[in-house]
Symmetry: C2
Subunit: 340 residues, 2 copies
Amino acid sequence: LDSAAATAAQARQDVLTKPQGALGRLETLSVQIAGITGQTRPRLNNPAVIVMAADHGVARRGVSAYPSEVTSQMVLNFLNGGAAINVLARHIGARVIVVDIGVAANLPSHSELIDRKLGMGTADFSVEPAMSRAQAQQAVEIGIACAYDAIASGVDLLATGDMGIGNTTASSAVVAAITGRPVAEVTGRGAGIDDAGLARKIAVIEQALALHHPDPRDALDVLTKVGGFEIGGLAGVILGAAARRVPVVIDGFISGAAALIACTLAPSAQPFLIAALRSVERGHDAVFAHLDLTPLFDLGMRLGEGTGAVLGMSLCQAACKILDEMATFGEAGVSGKVEG
Amino acid sequence: LDSAAATAAQARQDVLTKPQGALGRLETLSVQIAGITGQTRPRLNNPAVIVMAADHGVARRGVSAYPSEVTSQMVLNFLNGGAAINVLARHIGARVIVVDIGVAANLPSHSELIDRKLGMGTADFSVEPAMSRAQAQQAVEIGIACAYDAIASGVDLLATGDMGIGNTTASSAVVAAITGRPVAEVTGRGAGIDDAGLARKIAVIEQALALHHPDPRDALDVLTKVGGFEIGGLAGVILGAAARRVPVVIDGFISGAAALIACTLAPSAQPFLIAALRSVERGHDAVFAHLDLTPLFDLGMRLGEGTGAVLGMSLCQAACKILDEMATFGEAGVSGKVEG
C-alpha cells in the first residue's frame, strides 16, 4: 500500500466536520482505498463485478440441492438481466461482466458473455484431480486478463462473483486444504442441501483430500486437485486487481476460497482485498481468520453471484465520497472539540 | 401491516431465481415493506431524510465534547451540503430536509431550512423540566406534520436524522426512563467525551431522573422532563410515516430514543420501523431489546445526522428491487431444487 496516500487520507478524515472516527468503517475503508490507489482523495466512478461461471464434476455425487444444468441456465439469466446480481448491480450502477470459464454446456454467443471455457466442467475430484495443473494455471491467468481488460476499459473498482452448481463443495475442500481446518468445520449447506446431503458432502471432501493430499503451500496444487475453474479465475481477478492497484471487493464463500488461493500465491495481495459480507455458509469465518479480514456487514446472505460484493462496492464509493466531498472544520466554520 | 401484501411478497420471493432465503435480510425487508405499504411489489423511488436540529440546556453541565454553538454551525453546514449526511444522501439519491425545531441561535432564512423553532434550546433538565408539556406535544405534532408534508410532496421512504450538542445526554435519560435500565448501562461517550466527562454525564442524568420522576408509561412526561425538541420531533416523524404507511428508517441512538417515545405513544407504530445500524453508542442495544428491532448492519458508526439511516434506505430500495425486478424460475427457464 501507498503509506503516504493513506496517511494523507487519515489526516483529512481527522479534520472533516464530524468527531474523529465517528463514521467507523467508512473512515478506515477510505484510508485503505487511498493506500491501494495511491490517491489521497480517490474517486471510484466505474465499478464492475466479474462473475465467473463453471461446472463441477463432483456435483454428480449428490452434494448440491440443485442439478448441474442450473449453472448454464443462470448464465442465460445473467445475460437477460433477471438474476439477483443484475438487479443489485443496476441499483448501485455497476457493470456485470460474465465469464464462461468452464460451464458444461454450449452457450450461445452473446455480446455480454466472455468465452474462456477451459472445459465442460471439472472432473469429479472424488476420483481424479479436478483439472490439470496447466488448466489451474490457465484459470488464474484468465482471471488476471479479465481484470486487466476491465481496468483498461476504465473500471476503477472490482468485485468478484461466482456461479457453479457444486462450487461450495470445491470451496470447502480448498478452505480445508489451505487452512488445515477439519472438513466438517468448513462445510455448509450451500444452496440448501438437507442433513443427509450435508453428511455425504463432508464425506466426499474428506475422501478427496485423503486421496489427493494437496499441498497447502502450493495453491496451484490445491486448485488442480480439489478446486474449480471459477475459483481459479476469481483468484486471478484478485491478483490482477491488486497488481493494478485497484480495490477488489470479495463476495461470499466461493470468492473467499478464491482469495485463499490468491493470497497463497501472492501474500502481498492481501491489503488490496475488501471483504464485503459474512455469508451464512459455514466455513466463511475460517477464510477471514486465515486472511486477517473483517467483513463489512452480515445480512444473512448466502447467494454468491457477487450479490454481497456489489453492496460492498457501494459502501466503498460512499467511504471515498465522505473523504473527498465533506467540508473541513475550517472550511465550514465549525468549532472543534473542547479540550478538558 | 397488510398481511395479504406481505404474504404475496413472500410467495414471490420464494419463486425468484435463487435458493429460498438466500438473500437473507433483503428478502425479509422486502416482505416487511410490502406489508407496510400494502403493495405486493413496492417501489421506493423518492427517499428523504428529515434532520431535526435543536439545542440542550443540559449541555452547559459539561456533558459533551463539543460546545453548543456547533449545533447551529452544523445546520449551516447541512444547508451548504458539506456534512456527512449531505454526502451520503447524494450518494443514494435522497433529499435532506433540515428542520430547526429549537436551535439556540437565530439562523438565516434559507429555502432548504424549515423553521419550526420551539425555543432557544431546552431548559437545563438537571434543575428544571427540559420543556413544558405543551412544547412536548408541539414537538411531536411538528414531526408528524413534517412527515406528512414530505409524503405529500412525493416522498415514499423516510429516514430520521438528528443534530444537537448534548442530545446523547437527553437520549440516555429517555432510554433509562422508558426501559428502566440503569443510567450507566445506557450512557456512552456521545461525540467523544473523556472518562471524567462520562462520569459527570451519568451523574447529571441520575440526578435529573431522581428529581423529576418521569412516568415511563407517559411518553410526553418523559419528553417534557428529560427529552429534547428534536427527539420529540423525530418521534413525530416516525408516527407520521407509520400513519401514512410509509417505511421509516431509524438512525442511531438519538433516533432510537425518539422511536421509544413514538412506540410508547403508539405501540402499533413498531412494525413500520426499520432499524438501520447498531451504533457504537452504549445504550443502543437497550433500545433494540425494548422495541424488538434488529439493526441491518454495524459499521462502527456513531455520528447521527441520519448517516446510518440513509445507507439503510439504500438497502430498502435494493430489497424492493430484488422483489420487483428479478426473474422467476418459470420466466427464466431455470430448474428448481432436486427433491431428495
